[in-house]
């Protein structure tokens, strides 16, 4: 075994400067080896030390045996986006170590399992071997747990070398294993012995340190899918039909996890909800539309391929005016694409989903807190407007753990929309008023609906995706058709007060504006700081819904140049903006890119800078 001798840092420029709480560590492992626990322990421990952190998991589309990376970024300044370079690499996978070296900054640190042959070509890297096998052997671990325990070795060594508080690690372990003593103890033992080994055998020759910071107030760590699931539950979801698909599965699975606790009748133990795993996405959306029609707060969650199968039913829901909420946790397409990578590539598809003239409300949460918030609001909007509402997140937002402000309990009562029950219908009848399922009684484009189970003899109507008049009767009449379709447009565009408004952040003397949405917010914010440092202040408009808010129009007119930043090839949001605001099209510039990785501030900064220079 070629044992690599620790090299001294040779990079004169950076040597000596201590780097505290502002760096990125990447753990390179093999999936299926159980490294998730180790990484989570480290992430949460840093978080508990008050350090702003974010974790990004880059994993393959298989179950076991392929390279996987987990990056933890610490940023005392609070930047949470992905960075493209690593400061510290923990290498447990011999297959990828040479790639990792390419991404390491000068002065970076390499921890590596000492049974990996490392041919270190760079002198500017500090390398520490880790005697993983030896420590496991000493720990007398059962053979089937060895791979798993190996990961705890790096937890101990890294913690020791960068200075993570061991008590905090213990607390995190306890939290992680929900106090199960045996699990906590066995993991703790190996972490401790690894830390001890490091203390005794490794001399600190690098510049990276972590230090406790003041507690982060009202901040939690959570993944977007959990936030979405909880948002749905606090929104009163009654029916979910879903079909497994990465990266959406954990959204539905988390509802299954929390619903029994949060939504059963305490007296009888009976459920106020139902979750059905459908046989496919055609069925999932069919069931969800059925349930929405029958008066339930109904939803489904899926990813791109699922959306591509749901078009026909969503067109029906749009035209027959059925409320339903659809989560799209986006991954990289087209086709099966990169199922375990992130993108924002489904926007135009969804905007134009289904044949004929359709239109869909789309909500675009920017972080886990908004996943929760839009989760409950989406039901209000869907039921108020009697229409499908999409919520688009992505793999990065959905599956990675993020630091975010704690969720606020809904600040308003549920809006179940215009529903007529027995008494309501009877009252109309008694007053001699004609009710029609598709009659615009209030002039806002939104009719009143009844719900199956309403036993009033006048309540029933027949729902169909074929032409119907205001009284829900079948018709092929030209005017009924056109009026009906125009009312649908009015319904969605005339009630924009219901949709989340864009968030605007300004800098004094901004030279131009940046538009973004969804998970790319943190990278854009950081890029703006970089631009500002270069003397280019910018304003930022984060779009949170479609149809577009009227504010956007004003904003667009206020700037000469607007860069639309997004994570797809075609600049899909830019396309939609150009289409909607024809007179502003020329000043909307595409800043888009998709390779499966979350956007970095660096890329945004460089791209915009280049475009600015070109102009």
């Amino acid at each position: 075994m070629s044992q690599l001798q620790p090299a001294a840092v040779k990079d004169g420029k950076t040597a000596g400067k201590k780097i505290v709480n502002e760096f990125c560590m990447t753990f390179s492992t093999i999936n299926g080896s159980g490294s998730a626990t180790a990484n989570t322990i480290l992430l949460r421990s840093l978080f508990r030390m008050g350090i702003p952190v974010s974790g990004k998991n880059i994993f393959p589309s298989n179950i076991q045996g392929l390279p996987t990376w987990y990056s933890i970024r610490l940023s005392k300044k609070g930047y949470l986006a992905r960075v493209e370079k690593d400061d510290i690499v923990v290498a447990m996978n011999p297959a990828t170590i040479s790639t990792e070296l390419d991404f390491m900054v000068p002065g970076a640190v390499l921890f590596y399992a000492d049974d990996i042959k490392v041919d270190l070509p760079r002198e500017d890297i500090v390398a520490y071997p880790m005697p993983v096998r030896k420590l496991i052997k000493e720990a007398e671990v059962q053979p089937n747990l060895r791979d798993y325990v190996a990961n705890m070795v790096y937890v101990g060594i890294v913690a020791q070398m960068v200075g993570i508080d061991m008590n905090v690690i213990y607390g995190t372990l306890d939290h992680h294993f929900k106090g199960k003593k045996k699990a906590v103890d066995s993991n703790w033992a190996i972490i401790q012995s690894a830390a001890k080994w490091a203390q005794e055998n490794l001399e600190k020759r690098d510049r990276y340190f972590v230090e406790k910071m003041p507690p982060l107030k009202d901040v939690i760590m959570v993944d977007g899918n959990t936030a979405s699931a909880l948002g749905s539950i606090y929104g009163g979801v009654q029916f979910t039909a879903w079909y497994p698909i990465t990266p959406a599965s954990s959204l539905a699975e988390t509802t299954i996890e929390y619903l029994p606790e949060l939504r059963t009748d305490p007296a009888t133990g009976k459920a106020t909800y139902a979750v059905v795993q459908a046989e496919d996405e055609l069925a999932a959306i069919g069931m969800a539309v059925g349930a929405g029609w029958a008066g339930l707060r109904s939803m489904t969650s899926t990813s791109g391929p699922g959306i591509s199968l749901m078009g026909e039913y969503l067109g029906l829901a749009y035209y027959a005016e059925v409320p339903v909420v659809v989560w799209d946790v986006q991954r990289v397409g087209p086709s099966t694409g990169l199922p375990t990578r992130t993108a924002q590539g489904d926007l135009t598809q969804i905007h134009f989903l289904s044949h004929g003239d359709t239109q869909f409300v789309i909500l675009l949460p920017g972080d886990a807190k908004e996943c929760f918030e839009f989760g409950w609001k989406a039901f209000d909007i869907a039921e108020r407007l009697q229409t499908p509402v999409f919520i688009l997140t992505d793999l990065d937002l959905g599956m990675n753990t993020h630091m975010v402000k704690r969720f606020d309990y809904p600040d308003r009562p549920m809006d179940r929309g215009k529903v007529l029950w027995e008494e309501d219908i009877q009252k109309l009848v008694d007053e001699g008023k004609a009710w029609g399922r598709y009659l615009d009684m209030d002039g806002d484009g939104i009719p009143y609906r009844t719900i199956p189970g309403n036993r009033n003899v006048h309540a029933a109507y027949f729902t169909r995706g074929t032409g119907h008049d205001e009284m829900a009767r079948y018709t092929e009449d030209q005017h009924s058709w056109e009026n009906g379709l125009n009312r649908l447009k009015k319904k969605l565009e005339g009630n924009k007060q219901l949709y989340p408004k864009p968030v605007v952040e300004k800098m004094a003397k901004a030279k131009f504006a940046i538009i973004g949405y969804g998970s790319t917010g943190p990278a854009i914010q950081e890029a703006r700081d970089l631009l500002a440092e270069k003397g280019i202040p910018t304003d930022f408009l984060r779009i949170r819904s479609l149809p577009f808010s009227d504010d956007i129009c004003d904003m667009l007119h206020a700037y000469d140049r607007i860069y639309v930043v997004e994570m797809n090839r075609d600049g899909q949001m830019r396309q939609l903006l150009a289409m909607n605001y024809s007179d502003c099209g020329a000043k909307l510039h595409q800043v888009s890119h998709t390779d499966g990785m979350p956007l970095s501030a660096e890329w945004i900064f460089n791209t915009i800078l280049a475009l600015e220079e070109e102009k």
Partner: protein, 344 residues
């Protein structure tokens, strides 16, 4: 003096069960099935407001407009009735559901959804108005078209027909029957039994398409059906409150099955020894009939005790769609607790 209109035990007239005038072809088998649905529900004293109707797309799937005006209904998408109905029924599980589909709708495009709905034992009367052809799109082969059938513009069908009853059985259906639109009495009795069944009741009804597929010598025609229908048994439905009284009662020649709601199904055996509670018998006769090109009708199989989809969901008593906001949104304290757990 005005004539008194007859009413049933629910105090309703037959008219209260009617739908809009049919726009199907005169003589279409589907129309005669609609009439029997009206008759069965009237005779069962089921209030229309307690029924909910579903369908896919096709001539057959238009039928729900032509009965029970006073019931909610949803004419969904081609081949996708199963999922729609499954989701919708969670709204209020006290409603009785009836679905009308076609052979194209169920056995061609809808095969997957149909099978999975059956497997879930969703409590619903699921009628396939089976004419072996696509009516509404003007006469193409459906998956139940008989092998060798020739149709204008389409040529010859080279595939064996999908057997709806066999499919239902393979998916563990709990009520499987076949009937013939030309035998309205049997259709009605089977419908009544189906409405008393707690679980999926699949009824494959041969229902001739007089416009595109009614050749005398074809399996799905009136003429052929009338000449060849061979019932497994005579079916009488006896309501829970009525006393069973069957004419010509003879030791060993009838079988009684108690249905979920206490009604009794009395089957007077014809020709064959047949036990509809025995699944092997069911496989055997269905396979036999298919192979021999028999129009064998009757209730092939019934299993009264299987749990339904809803049984496994342990839902609150109140229909879900009548729950109040406070029953749906967990209290603020619960969120505080969760947030504490997610916090540092």
């Amino acid at each position: 003096m005005a004539t008194q209109t007859a009413v049933n035990l629910a105090g309703l007239t037959r008219n209260d069960y009617k739908g809009a005038p049919s726009t199907l072809c005169q003589g279409c088998g589907h129309n005669s099935i609609s009439s029997q649905i009206v008759a069965a529900l009237y005779e069962l004293n089921i209030v229309p407001e307690n029924v909910v109707k579903f369908s896919g797309i096709g001539c057959s799937s238009k039928s729900p407009t032509y009965f029970l005006n006073r019931s909610f209904g949803f004419n969904g998408l081609h081949g996708r009735m199963a999922a729609l109905a499954t989701g919708a029924m969670f709204g209020d599980v006290t409603l009785k559901a009836i679905g009308v589909s076609g052979d194209g709708d169920t056995a061609s495009i809808g095969m997957g959804g149909f099978k999975h709905m059956v497997r879930r034992n969703v409590p619903m009367v699921y009628i396939v108005e089976n004419n072996g052809v696509y009516g509404l799109t003007k006469g193409q082969f459906s998956a139940t078209a008989e092998k060798g059938l020739e149709l204008k513009r389409q040529g010859r069908n080279v595939f064996g027909p999908v057997d709806i009853c066999m499919e239902a059985l393979a998916s563990s259906a709990t009520f499987v029957a076949r009937s013939f639109a030309g035998d309205p009495k049997q259709v009605k009795e089977i419908l009544k039994a189906a409405f008393s069944h707690n679980g999926i009741a699949v009824i494959d009804i041969i229902s001739p398409c007089v416009t595109f597929h009614n050749k005398e010598d074809s399996f799905h025609s009136y003429t052929w059906g009338k000449a060849h229908e061979s019932p497994l048994h005579d079916i009488s439905y006896v309501a829970p409150r009525d006393e069973i009284y069957i004419e010509d009662y003879e030791e060993g020649t009838t079988q009684e099955v108690t249905l979920h709601d206490g009604a009794t199904l009395v089957l007077k055996k014809l020709e064959k020894e047949y036990d509809p509670c025995n699944i092997y018998d069911a496989y055997r006769v269905i396979e036999e009939a298919e192979r021999n090109h028999w129009l064998l009708t009757g209730i092939f199989y019934i299993e009264t005790e299987a749990p339904t989809l809803f049984d496994s969901h342990n839902l609150v008593e109140t229909p879900l769609n009548r729950l109040k906001p406070e029953e749906l949104r967990p209290a603020a304290e619960t969120l505080d607790k969760l947030m504490a757990n997610f916090a540092q």
